[in-house]
Amino acid sequence: MNISLSNVAWLEPVVNVAKGKNVGTNLQIIFKSLGIPLVGILVFLVLWSIAADRIDTSLGKFPGPGEVATQAKGLIKEHNAERIKAVAFYERQEIRNAERSAADPTYEATIRPYTGKPTYIDQIFTSLITVMSGFILASIIAIPLGIVIGLSENLYSAFNPIIQVFKPVSPLAWLPIVTMVVSAVYVSDDPMFPKSFITSMITVMLCCLWPTVINTAVGVASISRDLINVSDVLRLSYFTHIRKIVIPASIPMVFTGLRLSLSIAWMVLIAAEMLAQNPGLGKFVWDEFQNGSSDSMGRIMVAIVTIGLIGFALDRLMLMLQRYVSWDKSSATR
């Protein structure tokens, strides 16, 4: 699989230089694919620290790269400290359970999960789980819907205005509605998922549905007439037609949609979490904003960098998946 290799364009030249092969040219390639972006990042960091020094806020100076790095380390330290506290929590709980079992032999001890605060690392995972759930749910709805719409010109005309109207709606507009509906519909004494998770997930889903629907529909509608004729001549059944012709033919467009959807999902999630109080990165940013301590801005900047890096990584992941799944390698670029 040379998929991963093509993603890291500088790897091969590095290997070549190591082997002493074509050193000059390879060094040039390395500089282009690795050096120039590094220079870009360095220039950005310098400009950032200069600008940061000049912005005064009520919470002190705007955090520069150094301050942000310190805060990132602090967050990891907090995470580790919290883990130690969790261990102590479970130990205390065991003792308490044992005491109670001794006093009451019929008592069936249960271990309750740690009640401490979610750390930054926990919050990253909560965000990832929420965004992936919403995205997968959206895909499960959007791809079949897009296929059905794309197959029929009439359905396409019927749905298109609806899609175009819902597509630009901000998550902040959906959220109150979703919250009310979830509160009314999702009633349980011991819910499997917290409501805040359901609310955030559904909001993410509603916002990231549309690019996949549209792109899938367009992809299906624009399948070459020739391929459809082949299917007709072979008298393929409706579902074989979809399985053998429609899905493979529209895969590149479906993935274009999925990548757009995932990036929207990730952006929407942060806003949704802020309002729905789902304990992910969005809530982290909101809480730090509320804290208004001298560390808050630095910690929010850590979150911003994290959000950006994860968003970037998610997109690369989708690209790799697309390269792996799709027959049309040329469509899987950037």
Binding site: E108, T110, E288, G292
Partner: protein, 466 residues
């Protein structure tokens, strides 16, 4: 999941059977061995919400000092985005309980805003708020404020000094605007009380006509702004001042954008501030759990005031963690440790700025509830005239000193606190004696709400309607 549920159910059943057995074997067994009488909470995993303000301290302390765990409760504390979110999540069961504005359980129960029956058995603190005005307003107020011998202004500063400023703005056709945190917040009523005492009309509400902005006939336009945004909103010139809890008054001083003019302690000495609210439904379903929560909170409040505020520095350290209040240690410490900085450099001692346990701060007095109800009536949030009996009934529906008393008695029995720390439950009526220490020197008697309302020159009287 299912396994856990059945376990909990059987645990609950066991607890019931055991308590019956205990009764059958008589009280002798109970007193001889406390362990055998131990009750277990019906619901052990709980999630409580709070807003990032220093007066959430009892919750943080009960968690950090292990008081919740001592009661067999596994509590998660979660900061909420704003008061509305916090209330809604308590109502729909996402939160088992929350740090609430005293007006919230009352407002919700009588249906001003979101309608839901919320009760409280624990009052979280006294005082803790302040009113801040922008530098510009302060400069205009200053000539109207009497000076002490050392040149500093005489405190408390009354709104009388603000009145000419507001009149001047009005003559120029400019509105005078102030921020508060929630329509049923203590801050709203305190700010209104202070303004009205100085002859500035803060405006009426008329919910029956769909007017919930509270600006009818107003000289000062009040609007809702979330606490952390207060300083920035004032700096931007959107509001001329605000009433908020700490650390947002001190923040204005540090930033040099405004001057706190008065604390709520000076508006109404030892006024009740936040409460711990739960839904009625929840309390009925989990009575033992509720009692245990109150026990843990009483111990936390006791700890906060113990040793003459000696534990406060440690408390401030806990509160400054990002998952609680999260503001800098110094900012929180400024008010929590008994001083308050007014105009820059004018630092004065206010030892009772934050009271958590002294003066029976944790006891849910009916008279406190009725005071909030009178203010709701005074400003039209309650649009219809109400009888004294109605005030009494509503207070009893929401404030539950009975639950508080059962929790306190258990603590006394367990030897964790002593009877002298509490009111005498045998004689306590739930009404404080008539209070006189208001800025306008009007006496408040909780048993006479309608008569009390008649004493105000600004505000709706018993039979008035907008």
């Amino acid at each position: 999941m299912r396994q856990v549920i059945t376990n909990r159910r059987s645990a609950f059943k066991c607890a019931c059977i055991r308590s019956v057995l205990v009764l059958a074997t008589g009280f002798a067994a109970m007193s001889s061995s406390l362990a055998s009488a131990v009750e277990y909470a019906e619901k052990e995993e709980l999630k409580f919400g709070f807003i990032k303000l220093t007066d959430m301290a009892p919750l943080a302390i009960a968690y950090e000092k292990g008081y919740f765990e001592d009661e067999g409760l596994y509590v998660t504390l979660e900061a909420q985005a704003n008061w509305k979110v916090l209330l809604d999540r308590t109502i729909d069961g996402q939160l088992d309980g929350a740090h609430m504005l005293a007006g919230q359980p009352l407002g919700a129960t009588i249906g001003f805003g979101t309608q839901a029956h919320i009760i409280t058995a624990f009052s979280m603190d006294l005082n803790g708020n302040g009113i801040t005005v922008s530098n510009d307003i302060w400069e205009q107020m200053k000539p109207h404020i009497p000076k002490q011998a050392d040149g500093k202004p005489v405190h408390p500063i009354k709104a009388d000094a603000l009145k000419p400023v507001v009149d001047k703005l009005k003559a120029e056709g400019k509105p005078f605007k102030m921020g508060m945190v929630f329509p049923v917040s203590t801050h709203n009523y305190e700010l209104r009380y202070w303004l009205a005492a100085g002859g500035i009309h803060p405006g009426y509400y008329a919910p029956h006509k769909g007017d919930t902005s509270g600006n009818i006939n107003a000289d000062a336009l009040l609007s809702v702004t979330p606490p952390p945004q207060m300083p920035a909103t004032m700096e931007a010139g959107t509001i001329h001042g605000y009433c908020v809890g700490e650390p947002w008054n001190q923040q204005a001083v540090f930033k040099g954008i405004g001057v706190p003019v008065i604390t709520d302690y000076e508006i109404w000495k030892n006024n009740p501030e936040k409460v711990f609210g739960v839904s009625k439904e929840w309390a009925d379903k989990y009575p033992i759990t509720h009692k245990k929560v109150v026990k843990a909170l009483i111990r936390a409040a006791y700890w906060l005031d113990a040793n003459d505020n000696g534990n406060r520095p440690e408390a401030v350290k806990i509160l400054s963690k990002p998952n609680y209040v999260g503001a800098d240690y110094d900012v929180i410490a400024n008010s929590m440790t008994g001083t308050f900085e007014y105009e820059k450099g004018d630092k004065r001692a206010v030892p009772d700025f934050n009271v958590f346990f002294r003066y029976n701060a944790t006891y849910p007095y009916y008279s406190d509830a009725i005071w909030y109800l009178t203010q709701m009536r005074r400003w039209g949030q309650i649009s219809e005239p109400k009888s004294d009996e109605w005030f009494m009934e509503t207070a009893k529906k929401v404030y539950r000193p009975d639950i508080y008393a059962s929790a306190a008695k258990e603590l006394i029995k367990e030897g964790k606190l002593s009877a002298k720390d509490f009111p005498d439950f045998a004689t306590e009526t739930g009404f404080k004696p008539p209070q006189t220490e208001f800025i306008d020197e009007i006496t408040y008697d909780g048993t006479q709400p309608n008569a009390y309302l008649k004493k105000f020159s600004i505000g709706l009287k018993s039979d008035e309607k907008i």
